[in-house]
Amino acid sequence: MYFYTMRGEVKAVDDVSFDVNKGDSVGLAGESGCGKTSAALSILKLLPWNGKIYGGSINFEGEEILKMPPNKFNKDIRWKKISVVFQGAMNALHPNKSIGSQIAEPILAHESISKEEARKRAERLLDLVGIGGSKFDRYPHELSGGMKQRSMISMALACNPTLVIADEPTTALDVIIEAQVMKVMKELQQKLNLSLILISHDLSMIADSCNKVAIMYAGKIAEYGESARIYKEPLHPYTQKLIGAFPSILGAKRELESIPGFPPDLLNPPPGCRFHPRCVYAMDICRRKEPEVIEADGSNHIVACHLVGK
């Protein structure tokens, strides 16, 4: 998926593949500009006007989303089967409507049920996220940041989706509130057997909440697999450095890793491996040829690096 700009095409998402199985919680990790949000918005066909999907396939429950007519997608898929919790979603709440009515809104839009039924369901959702159905008539300004974010989660769950995409759901929340909100999300995920795609730059949070993780860099997937595997034995040099850049309160105090330079301009990405200008192990081939995505040691651990698999 590329963005068309006046200066050319920004190759935001290039040949990205990953699977989300039912009940999975997949983390899409990377730094700003790596393409994670663009990849997720592509799934929901919520790209800005200058974003265009040039190829590839998005297969959801056996159906090819990219070939689906927009009407069908809007009615049956978006918000009904796949929903989103956006970044800074708490700022997206309508200030003049009660939170309950905002949760009921998508229910009424997608299903033909009575207002009373919708209200009951919204109240139950508020109970589910720990805010309590009694707060249905409260307005957003009466709620704290954590409660607003949890209301957004209720909204995302309103039509009983099978997949929820959460884009940086806990930025701007304090640590303790973040822990509360993530706990709620994990419980809900188990209770409702939801699949979750969690987008974040925070590798610590992803380690805590996701059983699989995809590390993205400059529009491509560098590494992908089970979290336990990736964090214990990262194969891609970028993954290794990135994990090392996050301080931990557990274990011995250690030096933090850093990566010199900065992410490439996606108008003209570097030839060969997009990470080579910043990679300590860069070899000649890295500058010339893009590494293929291969499966390392045959266990669903995917990596794109010339160092691996030779």
Partner: protein
């Protein structure tokens, strides 16, 4: 840098009629009776969640915000009641770095102008050549080399990490003795963060600065700070050597904070500390211990009596009845 019994109350603005009708004007108890000593060459962390008063404390120490009560003593001089002229001279030695590298640099000024501004305002250089030299020197300290490549650029041409280095350069060009940094790394990408952290620590060491590092990220504070103080609702609840506090927190709030922080290891076993609810209002802080409404160990005494900050055997101070009286007496 020493702060004694610092208090900062902000009055709440209310409508005209309410002001007439209210018996007392409500205050936001932003900082309550705070005592701090930061030594030379020391990196001291102020850790807490939003609204705990850490940013206000940082600004109080520099008198960017006037204290309601209390004393601030810097290098043996009481600066609490200093005139603005004298304070300006003091400010050569006291500086601040802000969180947002996109907001703290004037977009219309060149890098050279931004970094040299403090030198000009404080009139500490006699010739243009000297100004130029000071700018290039501090840019080299922050590894923005060659300096000539940066001085004529504008902020929008630089990345977040580079901009923050410029903000640091501007803060250190006067070789200050006391520095406050308010979340200087939180808006930077992870891979850049540690690079800037390293440079920050090295320049602090180079100038033997006393450094107050304000953050909500206790994991980062572990990496940056020699000692930390944990704040909650305007008060310090625990203070001591960073590593001691991280390994063995004494205050229930510190415990909760450490239990809530995620770590980059999916297989880590964590104890779950259940803290319910949200931070109460600073306008009407709870009576007794301010944390009692959310504390899993709270008992009768906690609701009535404010715990004092008392020293412990392992060289720290804690304000908690549980520490003094044990559990549930």
């Amino acid at each position: 840098m020493v702060a004694r019994n610092l208090k900062k109350y902000y009055t709440l603005k209310m409508g005209f009629v309410k002001t007439l009708m209210a018996k007392a004007v409500p205050f936001v108890h932003a900082v309550e009776d705070l005592n701090l000593i930061i030594g030379k060459d020391e990196v001291f962390g102020l850790v807490g969640e939003s609204g705990c008063g850490k940013t206000t404390t940082g600004r109080l120490l520099l008198r960017l915000v006037e204290p309601t009560e209390g004393k601030i003593v810097f290098n043996g001089t009481d600066i609490t009641a200093m005139s603005s002229d004298e304070l300006r001279k003091m400010r050569r030695k006291m500086q601040i770095i802000f969180q947002d590298p996109y907001e703290s640099l004037n977009p219309r000024m060149s890098i050279f102008d931004i970094v040299s501004e403090p030198v000009r305002i404080q009139k500490v250089a006699s010739t243009e050549a000297e100004v130029h030299q000071r700018v290039t020197e501090v840019l080299k300290d922050l590894e923005l080399v060659p300096p000539e490549e940066y001085i004529y650029r504008f902020p929008h041409e630089l990345s977040g990490g580079q901009r923050q280095r410029i903000a640091i350069a501007r803060a250190f060009i006067l070789k200050p003795e006391f520095m406050v940094a308010d979340e200087p790394l939180s808006m930077l990408d992870a891979s850049i963060r540690s690079e800037v952290a390293r440079l920050l620590l090295s320049i602090v060491k180079k100038f033997h600065c006393s450094f107050l590092y304000i953050t909500h990220d206790i994991a980062l504070a572990r990496y940056m700070c020699d000692r930390i103080a944990v704040m909650y609702l305007g008060q310090i609840v625990e203070q001591g050597v960073t590593e001691d506090i991280i390994q063995k927190p004494q205050h229930p709030y510190t415990e909760a904070l450490l239990a809530a922080v995620p770590v980059p290891d999916p297989t880590a076993r964590r104890t779950e500390v259940v803290i319910k609810g949200e931070v109460p209002s600073a306008v009407n802080p709870p009576a007794g211990c301010r944390f009692h409404t959310r504390c899993p160990y709270a008992w009768e005494r906690c609701k009535k009596e404010e715990p004092k900050l008392l020293p412990t055997e392992d060289n720290r101070i804690v304000a908690c009845h549980k520490y003094v009286y044990g559990h549930g007496k």
